[in-house]
């Protein structure tokens, strides 16, 4: 199953020319084009994602089947890819597996992949003292988990603010760190680090050049 997807996980970068050591300009676009496929891999200790198969994964697979993608262990940390039925899986994990604490919710932009985003949910279980990372592959909409963990509220707002992922069912989805009228989503990979919403800057700060 999904052999190329696994490869996707292990080597997120599309192979391209250019030396990695070359001084890199700060622009995000340029960064994309830099690394050769396997930078000095043999010299490094073999760490990286490997398949994971434990009791929890088996229970989840039995219940949710193809809604789950790969389960991997990376740096001794369990990661499970969720393709669909995110809310059901979260409710199950909270109620049955006692993952009662949503440590963190964030996203990663794989800008040339379909679907484009990974929404990362970092779960923690107090009774088992165990962490689990869910990786929901989503386009630009994702179901909101505020119904499962109310603490997701601001985290999802931040995610929306920075990546433009719309969380369906969120009670108050609006920007949190950027100004409400700002255009663009700063943490997307196609949003250059020097980019500004020049109209907003001109209007609100009064800087003519907008920078």
């Amino acid at each position: 199953m999904a052999d190329d997807q696994k490869k996707d996980e292990a080597q997120p970068q599309p192979p391209a020319g250019g030396a990695a050591e070359a001084p890199k300009p700060v622009a995000a676009e340029e960064k994309k084009a830099a690394p050769p496929p396997k930078p000095a891999a043999p010299a490094k200790p073999a760490i990286g994602p490997e398949p994971l198969d434990n009791e929890l994964v088996r229970r989840l697979r039995a219940r949710f089947g193809t809604a789950l993608g790969d389960a991997t262990l990376d740096r001794k940390q369990a990661i499970i890819v969720v393709r669909e039925r995110l809310i059901e899986i979260c409710e199950y994990l909270k109620a049955e597996e006692k993952f009662d604490f949503l440590t963190d919710l964030t996203a990663v932009d794989w800008f040339d992949r379909q679907p484009r985003f990974d929404v990362i949910l970092n779960l923690y279980s107090f009774p088992h003292n165990q962490r689990l990372r869910l990786k929901a592959t989503v386009g630009d909409t994702c179901p909101s988990v505020t119904g499962v963990w109310p603490g997701a509220n601001w985290l999802e707002r931040e995610c929306y603010d920075m990546f433009g992922i719309r969380f369906e069912g969120h009670p108050n989805l609006k920007r949190i760190l950027m100004p409400d009228e700002w255009k663009g989503y700063p943490l997307r990979k196609d949003y250059d680090i020097l980019k500004q919403d020049t109209d907003w800057v001109r209007e609100n700060i009064g800087i003519e050049s907008g920078q």
Binding site: A27, K31, F101, L177
Partner: protein, 379 residues
Amino acid sequence: MAKDNGSQFGVETTVLGADEIILNMGPQHPSTHGVLRVKLKLDGEKVVASECIIGYLHRGVEKIGENRTYPQFAPYVDRTDYVAAVSNGLGYCEAVEKLLGAEAPPRARWVRTILTELQRIASHLLWLGTHALDIGAITPLFYTFREREEILKIFEKYCGARLTTHAFRIGGLQYETYGGFEDEVKAFCRDFDKRIDEYEELLTSNRIWVERTRNIGVISAEHAIAMAVSGPILRGSGIRWDIRKAMPYAAYDQFQFDIPIGQRGDTYDRYLVRLEEMRQSRRILLQAVESIPEGPILARVGKVIKPPPGEVYHSIEAPKGELGYYIVSDGTTQPYRLRIRPPSFINLQALDRMVQGHLVADVVAIIGTIDIVLGEVDR
């Protein structure tokens, strides 16, 4: 009015009752500890609902992280929680080390533990002084800053900086400890026990202090977990959870210390928890400083830090709660994605529920007790 299900935040300012007014607190208000703006909906002097407006200090630290090499980004993390820079540095360096599959040598881990515990005390001292000041007790500030100064002097001697220290490097330490480092830490610890007693004398049974903090800003254990609150707030609500014990890092598994908890989850309990944490930090310091192992201080991580592809989440118990770094590497010298899990930001979420039904003056006490740093809230 905001629904009381714990997930409904933000005020819908539609129709105001005859007695209801909207009050803006901040962003230029001394008790909001920076540029936090709180919109309060009041019924008389009672708070009905609140909404935090943040982002005034947003600098895009995570975006900067994606455009800097791993070592280049290390000084930036000092500027998130800028009153606990050493803790930030520890979290970041350990996260990158985990990503690399490297580990700092024992001596480095010991020194890191010592400096981080000193930083925890310094951060709590700053919290105590300003928290008391907000409520009206001016005196503790002078005492706490006196001790904090001692700690900052140790930092300054160690790495040349007092506030944004950049004390650690990926793989260990840049600098050896200076001559007399152990003695100075010991001297600080020797006096510090009595100093905490002094603060307690000023506050713990002070009637005004108790009246202003008892049963103010109560947060139950269930609600604290639901809102993903961590650190002293979670412990103040009676959850005995500390990452130093639950998932030890640096050299914390080597030392004896207790995790203080509160019972009621109110502002007073959180005050007691933080005071006891300072005592426990002192305990750790005394053990650590006696047993610093000899040896190298920097692991071999190479001049160019280039972690193999993959990802890691590493978190530490910062003075304000769980500080986590989630880093995705694509095998280059720069992170593909760098996420900081800021304790202040997530703890601040609980403010709305904590202030409901209290007076405006109590809002000041509750903001103080959450112990936020806006550099970390806004990043």
